[in-house]
């Protein structure tokens, strides 16, 4: 079991050449293995062999498969992502939905994204990392709503998190619960539904903010 094991600790006293090379090799191997075999086929031995790093080293620094995924997710969270800005609320929501759609449609990126969700059911560490990742994404997305309020498109006091959730939730539901195929039309419909609900004032926060 890897639960009480060391978290990936990369602020150590010796962040020099070899350590950095090892981490990069393992990270690349993790993404490659994920794209090749999915999360179910992700093993420490596979990553170790592909990266040329010894099994023991991977266990020591990453703790197990969940640590590999968490590390990959942490890296993904540091990409400086910003929500789309199309100049209008409906356009922003459509673009956001389309972005989620594309990120899961891409073979490599989609496999990695789905892997993180799968990992979150196996490991509390992965679940916490995923929660943090989406909390950050949500916080960044709030500007879509605040811009819309500034333009007068939405009433003040609209719950930005609820709007974002309404846009993306149907896509995740198809992907992971009913496992139906995803197409651009589905993404657009989800965005339109969220826009209609927001315009109707459904996402108003309880007390006026």
């Amino acid at each position: 079991m890897s639960s009480p094991a060391t978290q990936p600790d990369f602020g150590s006293a010796r962040p020099g050449g070899r350590t950095a090379r090892t981490r990069a090799a393992v990270r690349d191997a993790t993404l490659a293995e994920l794209a090749a075999h999915g999360y179910r086929g992700l093993t420490v031995d596979g990553v170790a062999e592909r990266s040329g790093v010894h099994r023991t080293t991977v266990y020591r620094r990453w703790g197990g498969v969940d640590g590999l995924v968490v590390d990959a997710l942490d890296l993904a969270g540091e990409d400086g992502w910003q929500p789309p800005d199309t100049g209008g609320f409906a356009g922003d929501c459509r673009a956001l939905a389309a972005e989620v759609h594309r990120s899961f449609a891409d073979p490599a990126q989609g496999a990695a994204s789905a892997a993180v969700v799968a990992a979150s059911f196996q490991s509390p560490r992965a679940a916490e990392a995923l929660r943090g990742f989406y909390a950050d994404r949500n916080a960044r997305s709030e500007v879509i709503v605040s811009r819309a309020v500034d333009r007068g498109e939405l009433p003040a006091g609209t719950d930005a998190a609820a709007v974002v959730r309404a846009v993306v939730a149907p896509l995740f539901h198809r992907l992971f619960i009913t496992r139906e195929p995803l197409d651009a039309g589905v993404a657009e419909q989800a965005a339109e539904a969220a826009v209609a609900a927001a315009l109707a004032g459904v996402f108003q926060l309880p007390s006026g903010a």
Copy 2:
């Protein structure tokens, strides 16, 4: 590995007393273990010990932990469930969302429901079983929309599956993606949003049906 193993096969040539007792004991033990330790703590050995059935028997008839979950899910799907009927479209949607909320809030049932989702990431068999389960639930829920159309509350040609998805998807999103707590207000908001979007005609099917 349990992938190519025997599916739970309960139509055999000898469905007599002992076989039925074994299945019942294992099913009860599965649900109890799920409630006690969650899906991550569900093991064949644990179920075997609790049920008094030998390990080997469980492996032979269920194939592994995924088979146990699939069997439990198959049973859950045969409960003759019908969607709520409150006399109005909005009320039906709210009641549906509340029902989903309750099913995950209940400790035992919630653990089992979450376990099935977790299992679907581990096993193709569980994923297929989950897909079938929700396809059936969705089909049964369509009557909510058709009744609303008959009453003149909704335009004809409204995509019932899309409506149901819009109602429940935000709840699943909170439960499994962002792992935020769920309360009755969230369920109601999701229902209201779906209603507003449906009334606005967002879920119209492309060609007139």
